[in-house]
């Protein structure tokens, strides 16, 4: 499902964010990427999402060479294969919960009615259907992250990428989101999550990789 081969990425004159990273992940597995701040975790997520390109090495997801995609192609790749969950939710304030959730689907050309029906199903499944017409500014952190997850799942992605999904939440909300990811894992959703939350990594991950100064710390992939 995921293959990173000798991936390097640097920014300016500073030390490289990622150095010679190699890892693999099969479909249905969950990878937790852990490490201190500045170790290159978010860079790794960005490369997997096609938001950034490596200076060297290859990134292959679901048979697609993500590192060689154009901007437009990488946008289409994200629509069709990837769901993104952000630490700070990144919901659009001016849109209702439903409109936020349907956004990736309508950008991908899905009919509005189909997108709304699917969004309603997801909100129901995530237990926040009562918030469908609310605006993000009125939601709690946990509710916002549930909306973020619903948005990530709207296009039924092969890969769910989550960047510190519990990082901005209080402990109760974090536990709530942990449960949500456990459910997704149980449904064989392939997940890569970047986290400081060792509880989340420990309970959820089939694999854990630790990054330190842009390098994977041996063993590269631990079960």
């Amino acid at each position: 499902m995921i293959e990173l081969e000798g991936v390097c990425r640097g920014y300016g004159a500073g030390p490289p964010a990622l150095q010679d990273v190699t890892l693999r992940l099969a479909r249905g597995e969950t990878l937790a990427v852990v490490g201190p701040s500045g170790s290159g975790k978010s860079t790794l997520i960005n490369l997997l999402a096609g938001l950034d390109r490596p200076d060297a090495g290859t990134v292959t997801v679901d048979g697609i060479r993500v590192d060689s995609l154009s901007e437009a192609a990488s946008a289409r790749y994200r629509r069709s294969r990837v769901g993104l969950v952000f630490q700070f939710f990144n919901l659009l304030d001016d849109l209702t919960v439903t409109d936020n959730v349907t956004l990736p689907a309508t950008l991908a050309g899905m009919a509005r009615t189909t997108a709304r029906r699917r969004a309603a199903e997801l909100l129901e499944r995530l237990g926040i259907n009562r918030l469908a017409q609310s605006y993000p500014g009125r939601l709690s952190g946990g509710e916002r992250q549930r909306v973020g997850v619903a948005r990530a799942l709207i296009n039924r992605p092969a890969l769910l990428l989550a960047d510190e999904p519990t990082g901005a939440l209080d402990s109760a909300a974090a536990a709530d989101v942990r449960g949500l990811f456990a459910d997704l894992h149980a449904e064989d959703q392939t997940i890569v999550l970047v986290t400081h939350d060792l509880t989340l990594a420990g309970t959820l991950a089939t694999h854990t990789v630790k990054l330190l100064d842009g390098r994977t710390v041996a063993p590269e992939v631990t079960e």
Binding site: N46, A49, L51, D52, E71, A72, A75, R76, R78, R79, L84, F86, N90, L92, D93, D94, L95, T96, D99, T102, L103, P104, T106, L107, A108, R112, Y135, P136, G137, R151, N155
Partner: protein, 775 residues
Amino acid sequence: MSGLGQVVRSGIRRRRLTTVAVGLAVLMAVTAAVLGGSLLVASSAPFARAFARQHGAHLTVQFDATKLSPAQAAGTARTTGITAAAGPFPVVSATPKAQPTQAPAPLTLVGRPDPDGAVDDVEVTNGRWPSKPDEIVLSGDAPYARLGAVLRFPALPGSPAFTVVGHAVSVSRTADAWVTPDALTAPAGYQMLYRFADAGSDAQVAADRGRIAAATPAGALTGSRSWLVVKHDADQNTGVFVPFLAAFGILGLVMSALIVGTVVTGAIGASIRRIGILKALGCTPAQVTRAYAGQALLPASAGAALGVVAGNALAVPVLAQTNSVYGTPSSGVAPWTDFLVVAGILAVVAATAISSAWRAGRLRTVDALAVGQRPTSGHGRVAAWIAARVPGPQQLGLGLSRPFARPARAFGLLAAVTFGTVTVTFALGLAATTADVATAKNHDNADVVVHADLQFLGRGQKPGTSPRPAKATGTSAQIGVAITAQPGTRAYYALAETSVAVAGVSGTSDLYAFAGDTSWAGYQMVAGTWFHGPGEAVAVSTFLHETGTRIGDTVTLQAQGQAVPVRIVGEVFDPHTTPEVLVDAATFPQLTPDSYHIALRSGVNTSAYTSRLQAALRPYGLEVLPAGGGSHSGTLLALNALTGLLTLMLVVIAGLGVLNDVVLDTRDRIHDIGVCKALGMTPRQTVAMVLTSVLPAGLAGGLLGVPAGFLLHARIAPAMGHAAGLNLPTQAVNVLHRPELSALVIAGLLIALLGAALPAGWAARTRTATALRTE
């Protein structure tokens, strides 16, 4: 101060796009203002300025070469009252062998060793002054234009041929062409040019002339021309254009100041959070003000420096065209214009920057810091809700709802587009009016003219030229049949010209008697109607004024021994100051036509038609020539080029206002754009979203700006006409019709879209990861 300097430098580095927008806006503003200011200067008494600059001749005198030696002519410079003199220059009048399509008009040739002198500094506008006896330089308004052309003068001794080596302008109109003195081996006379201590009135110039005549043998002074006559001709030909071109200049200046003010205010308005940080770090409001004034003034100064260069570079051809309209020598940009423009624009930048930064600096620090970090106020949610439910691509809905989220900024955008559209509408209306006035001024739409009275060939004749030829033979009926029979003829009318006296009024007026279809002739009515038959007349405003008559009055015209009462049924537009009255030819049946004016069918070759008609009319001794061309079309071309350039400049400035607003808005929401891109928005969809966000303002700006510009033009154009002493015909004011106005609404959209294109591309190219990291 070094700390503040660091703040300024880092601010400029961090907000590069805004810095570039300020610099670009100032560059365009200074360029437009230099152009506008130069136009204003050029339009301010163009003849008087050019006359002063060239030390124009108050009196041009020609002495008979057989009665006065060159030394005697030179001696007249010592006559009382003369402050400067030039000459004697040998002079002849001769007709060059013409091109087949040109009237063989005689030229006054003056032998002059160089263009400079104490009087009449002739300005060489193209090529060089003649240095050999077989070279000639032509006056700018002479009919033979091309450098390198050879003019042969069969009537001069030795049939000399001259190669055209240059073109020159003499404001005093002292010659049609200049050659070296030794080229004129048998001069008919000697030309002397004088400046006097007192030459402000006809009486003073007449007294000056009288003293010169008294100082020379009787009959030696064969001709003279006062500068007041030249000035009168120049003023009546160009006066009509002065207010129109001056209006363009004012538009450029006003627009420049407004757009620069908007851009700087917007740029500082987008920096409030940074201002909060500076205050939190200990900057006082005064330091913040100084820092942000500096941040605006640095790129503004760079833009101003480049703008002066660009303005001067552009002003050279523009002023050349302007001066060709005015018939004056080209004038460069006055240094004080550059200085005033730069100082004025930088003062606008400083004033707006200081007032905006001062307001921002007085905000409570916590409020300034919170800008952009609090949830949005809820503006635009309804619009976003509706847009999300309207069928169509999602990115378009996101774009369309955007203006409602930031109403203040959307209002700024709307103002820029509206102002731009008002300006473009007004400018195009003004240009169309100017062109219409220029056409109406010449009121002759003929393609070909048959000259029955060959005296037209003597136009521009100077003292001492050969007698005029007589009228040709052939009746008007015969000539009319020949014209009608000619394939390609669409319509024609015959025109007779003579002087008439009006019973009870001193002086004479010019009478024009028309026969045939005059509907296409190009005369435009200010009021009333065109005459419908004998006994009716239309008159120009000068005639009505001088005779004290109005439409509906009856006057008795006396011409060639016949007194005919006619009722004035209309006022026809004519900017000339000569009193003219126009009647049906049947009113004065004894008059014979002087010319026949022919309109050709579409697609007919004028040159071939002219040749065929010339052959058909040869038995009658008539001259057939293509009409139009000359200074009329040249003036129009110059005006059109000027209008195009100035309108383009104003559109670019309006577009810069839009650009700045969209840049600021795109910066504000770059994080949201990054989110959308992360969720799968392609670069093309991003461009579409940003462009769509300006559509409401573009459309609304067009819909508001077009009627506003239309009304402004409808009010200003007649007022400017009155300022020039003209009653403009309705047709010259109502120049913008529904198709043009509809197209101008689209122009509002185009201004908005063009202004947004750059930031849209920038948003599409921004790396998603970078955008997501942006606060």
